[in-house]
């Protein structure tokens, strides 16, 4: 404030001769309601003010003919050439079209009205609206064509983001019965993330509150500027900057309670005892003639299953233990973000400090994150601007024991956690000596902690010669240093009270990378109504990762945790490694605008990647797009109800080399060892056939789009159709074992073999359903489909099973999606009447009847068919926002439909028990001779090696958030000198509607290690600004 005064004084003295006029006025919306906190600025100067609670402002304008800009979030910015009047009333119109909104398109930005490609944007308001702690969660269900999925509900777990389907064939090759991995950074079909111009994968360390804007480039014409790496879409994240003349201090705090929700239905104590009896009966019945009479007559002996006197007493007294209930907790979530931003005298700055603590609902699971963001830029003179940005995130994630969740649900209700003295029993179930009481893990006997520091820095120099020429050079180093420490103490399920199994691991990673971009912009105003913008870019990217892995076992004590690996005696791993990749690129973009009606964009990028085989490293990725703003045509301009109508068409190429690891074209020697007598010798062999032809995989995409806004922008619709074919898909091609390569399973070589198509439609509809003086109701709806199909594999091959082992249900099959689920089709369960038929196929009554697809009288590999795919057929999201005076209510819903796959959860918790009924399980409708209409086979012997029992749909409809917010009126705030004050209460994930029996249909596909409950959060929030 003092500075401002000083400035005013200086101006006042030095330029007293100039006309200095105080302009006052009021800013209102289209219903003449005053807009508080709207920004008023004298264009091209640092002179700016903010309106008060009544929308009033006073600004000193220096000269006639100055342009004043009026802006307010959610409204179209208005520019007025000051005509000398001293009292202005400025009406702003709501900009649900966002036509003036600035869209970041990579190495530049354009107004949405000038956009030719398919780009979706979210601003800070939307990103932070529901107080989600992770960017992935914040955009989930918000954008058509963007499938965001939680992989694991533990605190701090990353989310998977997939744009317009999967182009990478290899992605399914890791899938197995155990589901998909939750390591997103190794996911080859993840989009390219660009944070403030830097390629940066680990976006879940960012604080959503620090995000100014997220722009998602979906079609190839938009991603083409990122050429080689854009085929899976590009997510551009821009962090906050200061605004000249507006000093703002914000403080944002939340407090939440997290609890398990959508609890799976397990057998109660009585049901469990009955279930054990059924298992025993089935066991005895097996030796009989498979008649119902025989079943009724079998005698059972519970003593093989309830072995200890305590357990028998528990059964007799009906004293049961609800393990899962005892181990569930309420977690606490807190977050704080303090921000300061402002600027004057050509210097703008933004700083923020964030803290998040997020507790799990079991054991020691926990996530903590500190974020520091600092950005400043200074106008050195008329032409030169220097800027620096640093973003720092320190996070610590405790994932706890991967077994705790499973143990807590599996332990039989008939065994006790505590002995008569109230002490924890070490081995609750004598029948299974591996089961250490999970309470020890809940107390931290198993720890798995990741601590990482991410630093993104960025320094730029911008030279604006004049309106015609601008040059920017930007250098952005990033460093990620992370450490994973794991200790499996004595009293864990893994160590089983055996010191030789106690395990300590300590792994470190140091990743350093930099991006150096040079951007030259030329802006030709060829003639009236003809504008040509040219952007030329060079970009270098360097990425080096090194690290070490240590694993030691056999500890006498748990005292060291993972901090003293020398305390153990059995060294299993102690290696270091290094990889490096570089990327060099030249790119150009031409935007040609004819009378704001006909818009052309031509983009090309020429990329070279170190990862590809020498001689095949370079390729060029061109694209072209055209948009016609029909509503600007004279014949439509006068149409009152039509506010915007734009047709877009684009076609282009982009690439992907994520699939290839560095050094992917080399034939390395693999080490093995062998003992000759007692002498250990090192052996070498070549595991894979090197491919000297390895090059880019290239996607070609056609995109058709329509944008429509009608009825005073109250209905706003975007429609996209895309058809993207990826050729030369890089995949590991299986080789015949006769080649002699490999180490285990089929040998492979990586090359450009396959072809994949993704096509789909996306619909985005934003409507203002109601708007009165005090009340408004807005709806934002999105819907998208994606149809994925493998067009070609290699050679004549049209089907590659992931494994011939029946438990692996993945396949690559021409005509089927990449993530097809390939297994036996179930046609009911054999009944006692079907004994003969069942036995002819090698089955028994109570086991699945599989369809003998080829009718050869036997169930073989040939009878496996594609039963579905893991990816959804369609996804949709809807947010309804209701405003009444200062009160706001939002309800967000999202859904994924048409998903199918193997559930690790069902595999762990189904009633199938093998030869011993040890574990508790889901309350499933299983087959007995007395319940032949059951949904699931016999629990004793009904297992089939195809694991069909565990295939399921993961479809769901979820209320993602119900949020209530209250913004205090300005009249009250003024008394405290505040500019805004908002209280909110959000309930995240309150309801899930699904047929999936597990805890969370969204994470259901994933492997067991991250398994935990779906979480519902009650979150209280407060946001204040000065």
């Amino acid at each position: 404030m003092k500075l401002k005064l000083l400035m005013l004084l200086m101006f006042g003295v030095s330029f007293a001769s100039l006309a200095q006029t105080q302009v006052t006025g009021v800013v209102v919306d289209e219903t003449n309601v005053p807009l508080p906190s709207a920004t008023v600025q004298e264009k091209g100067t640092s002179n700016g003010v903010v309106t008060d609670f009544d929308g009033n402002f006073t600004i000193t304008v220096s000269q006639q003919g100055a342009t004043l800009t009026f802006s307010y979030i959610g409204f179209e910015t208005k520019e007025i050439v000051w005509d000398g009047s001293t009292n202005l009333t400025v009406q702003l119109l709501p900009s649900s079209t966002g036509l003036d909104e600035v869209v970041v398109i990579g190495y530049g930005s354009v107004k949405r009205s000038d956009l030719t490609g398919a780009v979706a944007s979210l601003n800070n308001e939307t990103v932070t609206e529901q107080r989600k702690t992770d960017i992935g969660q914040a955009i989930q269900g918000r954008i058509a064509g963007v499938d965001v999925r939680t992989l694991n509900s533990k605190p701090g777990a990353p989310l998977s983001i997939q744009i317009r389907g999967n182009t990478v064939i290899t992605a399914n090759q890791g899938s197995e019965r155990d589901g998909v991995s939750d390591d997103i950074t190794s996911d080859p079909d993840q989009p390219l993330y660009v944070v403030d111009g830097v390629f940066f994968d680990n976006i879940n360390v960012l604080n959503p509150a620090d995000i100014e804007q997220i722009d998602i480039l979906k079609d190839v014409s938009a991603t083409a500027i990122y050429g080689a790496r854009g085929a899976n879409g590009v997510v551009i994240i821009t962090t906050k900057n200061g605004i000249e003349g507006v000093t703002r201090i914000t403080y944002d705090v939340t407090f939440g309670l997290r609890s398990a929700t959508n609890l799976p239905d397990f057998l109660s104590g009585d049901e469990y005892v009955e279930f054990v009896d059924d298992v025993l009966r089935a066991r005895e019945w097996l030796g009989t003639d498979f008649s119902i009479d025989a079943y009724n007559n079998v005698a059972i002996d519970r003593s093989t299953e309830f072995q200890s006197p305590e357990e028998l007493a528990n059964v007799a007294n009906r004293t049961y233990t609800d393990w899962a209930g005892l181990l569930r907790e309420t977690g606490i979530q807190t977050s704080h973000t303090l921000g300061v931003s402002g600027g004057n005298n050509g210097l703008v700055y933004n700083a923020s400090l964030g803290y998040l603590k997020d507790e799990g609902v079991m054991g020691i699971e926990d996530f903590e994150r500190y974020n520091i963001s600092l950005s400043a830029s200074k106008k050195l003179n008329d032409k030169l601007t220097l800027g620096v940005k640093t973003y720092l995130a320190l996070s610590e994630r405790e994932a706890g024991s991967p077994e705790l969740f499973r143990s807590s649900l599996r332990l039989a209700p008939t065994v006790s956690a505590f002995d008569a003295n109230g002490e924890l029993v070490v081995l609750p179930d004598v029948q299974d000596q591996r089961f250490i009481n999970p309470f020890f893990e809940a107390q931290g006997s198993y720890t798995a902690e990741t601590r990482s520091l991410d630093v993104i820095a960025n320094v730029f120099l911008n030279y604006k010669h004049n309106d015609f020429f601008n040059f920017k050079t930007q250098f952005s180093p990033t460093v990620t240093s992370s450490r994973f420490g794991e200790f499996r103490g004595l009293l864990t399920r893994n160590s089983r009270n055996d010191p030789t199994r106690v395990r300590s691991s300590y792994d470190t990673r140091l990743r350093t990378s930099y991006t150096w971009d040079n951007i030259a912009d030329f802006n030709f105003n060829i003639a009236q109504g003809h504008n040509l913008k040219t952007t030329l870019i060079t970009s270098l990217f360097f990425d080096n990762t090194e690290g070490n892995d240590t694993e030691v076992r056999n500890f006498d004590t748990d005292a060291f945790s993972f901090f003293n690996t020398e305390g153990g005696t059995d060294i299993r791993a102690f290696g270091t490694f290094q990889t490096q990749e570089t990327l060099a690129s030249f790119a150009a973009r031409l935007n040609y605008n004819i009378q704001d009606k006909y818009l052309f964009t031509f983009t090309g990028r020429y990329d070279g990647s170190s990862k590809l085989a020498a001689g095949n490293q370079w390729d060029f990725f061109p694209s072209a797009a055209f948009a016609w703003r029909a509503s600007q045509e004279e014949f439509l301009k006068e149409t009152n109800w039509l506010n915007n109508l734009k047709f877009r068409v684009s076609y282009g190429e982009s690439g992907n080399d994520n699939v290839v690891d560095p050094f992917g074209s080399f034939a390395f020697l693999n080490q093995s060892s062998f003992l000759f007598g007692t002498d250990l010798a090192t052996g070498q062999f070549v595991e894979t056939l090197p491919n000297s032809e390895l090059t880019w995989e290239v996607s070609r995409e056609l995109n058709l789009g329509v944008d429509l806004a009608i009825l005073n922008n109250r209905i706003n619709l975007s429609f996209e159709y895309y058809n993207k074919t990826t050729d030369g898909s890089i995949l590991a091609r299986a080789l015949s074992s006769v080649s002699g390569f490999g180490d285990d399973g089929l040998p492979t070589t990586v090359g450009n073999f396959g072809s994949v198509r993704n096509k789909g439609v996306e619909l985005t509809l934003n409507t203002v359903n109601l708007r009165t003086n005090n009340f408004s109701w807005r709806t934002s709806f999105n819907f998208s489909t994606n149809d994925n199909e493998i067009l070609e594999l290699f050679g004549d091959t049209d089907q590659i099973p992931i494994s011939t082992d029946n438990r692996f249900n993945g396949v690559l099959q021409v005509g089927a999606p990449i993530d097809a689920v390939w297994s036996y089709e179930v046609d009911g369960i054999y009944g006692t009447e079907d004994l003969e038929e069942a036995q002819s196929f090698g089955f028994l009554p109570g086991q699945y009847r599989f369809v003998d697809q080829n009718g050869d009288g036997a169930i073989t590999q040939e009878d496996r068919v594609v039963l579905g795919s893991q990816s959804p057929d369609w996804i949709a999201g809807m947010t309804n926002t209701f405003n009444y005076k200062n009160l706001e209510l939002n309800v967000q819903v999202n859904t994924r439909q048409g998903t199918f796959g193997h559930s690790e959860f069902l595999q762990n918790f189904s009633t199938f028990q093998g030869d011993r009924a040890v574990f508790n399980s889901l309350d499933q409708d299983y087959w007995t001779p007395l319940n032949q209409d059951a949904k699931f086979p016999s629990p004793e012997y009904g297992e089939d090696s195809s694991f069909s029992w565990f295939n399921t749909s993961f479809d769901f409809v979820r209320i993602g958030n119900i949020g209530l917010g209250y913004t205090f009126p300005q009249t009250i705030l003024d008394k405290f000198g505040m500019s805004s004050f908002r209280l909110s209460l959000d309930v995240q994930n309150p309801f899930t509607f699904t047929d999936f029996a597990g805890p969370d249909p969204e994470t259901g596909l994933n492997n067991s290690f991250g398994q935990t409950y779906a979480i519902k959060t009650f979150l209280f929030g407060l946001k204040v600004a000065y």
Partner: protein
């Protein structure tokens, strides 16, 4: 490429405009933590390529598919009506046996790599020529071993002798006779070069002679046999035996876990107690046993027997083969299992049946060689489980009223004397251990010699060799006076059970079908053996699928 060049110019134009230089050097990869054959292997360390072949043998010999199941002496450890395609041949199909195929071809691939690099890429100086030749000879011998493993199971297989450098899907099968010729050629080239007594674990000239002897015997039975195959085999076997007298060590000593490197062993795939995980991970001890920790008093991780890792058990026929004076039975199987932890056996908690305190060292299960009389049985059943010789197959014997140990309290359904000869001192719960896998042993060479002489019509020499083996076992010299192939097969069962490939031996002697129909309980119950199909194994389906129609499946699969 044309398009690319055009745009390269475009790229250079950009460079000129913006002060910035980039060239292909920037994209050059320099792996620091990995090595390639080109930048690492030289004449000094070339042997590492040979060691690479040996280490793949672990995959070959840790896999028991197609070796023991479906024979006269081993069957599935499960109900007699249960299905197991490898054992009962019911629905045996192309999904079985991938490891057999792939691991042997990996041995061949690594041998081809070594031979090519040794002969064509690595510069050996004059003084190292003998090292080069020795490396090549080992590679040839191991390649022959792998081809022999394959040809016995699959018949003719693709013969590849070059390091593979391009993607191929045109592999085609040679005839069975051609594969034998290739094996013989490799071994004949290797034998003169190999050392007679190299370091333990290295392939010796005597091991190669043993192998070649078996190759000739196997061909000797075939339709493409040559007239002197058995005679050649007999000479090779005798050369391999050399001057070694198997009577210098007892059978028990040969299988003493502390005596794994001993002179009777001609070739073994070795594991140890140190080194990397792969060096201490043999599952040999875990075959032909049951989950013994289910018995009261036997702990899961502390017991001396280990864990069960392979679902097979010996047949009743196998147990019946040992005469009372046969000193091999005791080291071969455990007739008594002992406790290693204190526990109270009290299955019903507290009831009319008394409980039993078990202390470490107490007997837990007893398998008498001859059936016990009722009174003796009843007495013992108050102290431990007893399973009579006719109770080894799946089932729960009838409880004996009033005794402490009720059969119904034992959740194990297959109770039989487990194998002792492969007992290990080191194992963990993923059934890894340090036991070496003996591949060739002089006692086995004697039985080959006996078989070869018998095939050649030389009964006297055949009797000499079999009697040498029997003499060590029973102490009786010149015991047998007549011999036929069944005598040899029974003796092989007693001497070599679990060591050599029983299925292949029964197949070559033409006795497979006859013997499994007599002795294998699941085959007797529902066997589907068809000699027009099952004497050859199915080529893995995925290999057929990966071929462009050139690799043909065996008939019937």
């Amino acid at each position: 490429m044309k398009r690319m060049r055009k745009f390269k110019n475009f790229g250079f134009a950009l460079i000129g405009m913006i002060a910035f230089s980039a060239c292909d050097d920037y994209l050059e990869e320099d792996p620091k933590s990995d090595i390639t054959a080109e930048n690492f292997i030289n004449e000094e360390n070339a042997d590492q390529l040979v060691v690479g072949i040996y280490s793949e043998l672990r995959d070959v010999y840790r896999d028991y598919t197609f070796k023991f199941f479906g024979t006269d002496i081993f069957a599935a450890r499960s109900e007699n009506f249960s299905f197991n395609p490898e054992n009962d041949y019911f629905n045996l199909n192309e999904n079985d046996g991938f490891t057999v195929w792939a691991s042997n071809y990996r041995v061949i691939g690594r041998a081809n790599l070594a031979i090519n690099r040794f002969l064509n890429e690595i510069d050996f100086s004059e003084s190292n020529i003998s090292a080069r030749d020795l490396g090549v000879a080992q590679a040839q011998a191991l390649r022959a071993l792998a081809y022999f493993n394959l040809v016995q199971q699959y018949g003719g297989v693709p013969i590849e002798l070059e390091e593979q450098t391009t993607i191929r899907n045109d592999y085609a099968r040679a005839t069975e006779a051609e594969v034998y010729l290739q094996i013989i050629a490799d071994l004949e080239a290797a034998i003169p070069v190999l050392q007679e007594s190299p370091d333990p674990g290295r392939f010796s000239s005597r091991a190669a002679q043993h192998l070649l002897s078996e190759v000739y015997i196997t061909r000797g039975y075939s339709s493409f046999a040559e007239s002197n195959d058995f005679q050649t085999a007999a000479s090779l076997a005798e050369a391999a035996i050399g001057s070694y007298d198997i009577r210098s060590q007892s059978y028990a000593e040969v299988f003493d876990v502390g005596n794994q490197i001993n002179d009777e062993v001609l070739f073994a795939v070795q594991w140890g107690t140190e080194g990397l995980a792969e060096d201490v991970n043999n599952n040999k001890h875990s075959i032909f046993m049951t989950q013994v920790f289910q018995y009261p008093g036997i702990s899961r991780s502390g017991n001396i027997y280990g864990l069960s890792g392979f679902g097979a058990q010996p047949t009743n026929f196998f147990y019946s083969l040992f005469a009372d004076n046969d000193s091999r039975e005791d080291p071969t199987i455990h007739r008594v299992l002992f406790a290693d932890e204190e526990t109270t056996f009290d299955p019903d908690g507290d009831g009319p049946i008394p409980s039993d305190l078990i202390l470490p060292g107490d007997t837990v299960v007893f398998f008498p060689k001859n059936a016990l009389v009722a009174a003796d049985l009843e007495d013992r059943l108050n102290r431990y489980y007893v399973y009579q010789p006719d109770q080894y197959e799946f089932g729960v014997p009838d409880n004996v009223p009033g005794v402490t140990y009720q059969y119904s309290s034992n959740i194990l359904r297959n109770n039989f004397p487990i194998f002792e000869k492969f007992d290990d001192t080191v194992f963990d719960e993923i059934v890894g251990g340090a036991r070496d896998t003996f591949v060739f042993r002089v006692a086995g060479t004697h039985l080959l010699a006996a078989e070869a002489h018998l095939g050649a019509g030389n009964t006297g020499q055949a009797l000499f060799h079999i009697n040498r083996v029997r003499e060590r076992a029973t102490g009786v010299a010149d015991e047998l006076t007549t011999i036929d192939i069944d005598v040899i097969l029974d003796e092989r069962a007693r001497e070599l059970a679990g060591e050599t490939n029983r299925w292949a031996v029964l197949k070559r002697t033409g006795k497979l079908e006859e013997r499994i129909n007599l002795y294998n309980p699941q085959v007797i119950d529902h066997g589907a053996f068809d000699s027009s199909i099952h004497l050859l194994r199915p080529i893995p389906g995925v290999e057929i699928q990966l071929s462009s129609g050139t690799l043909l499946q065996n008939p019937g699969y």
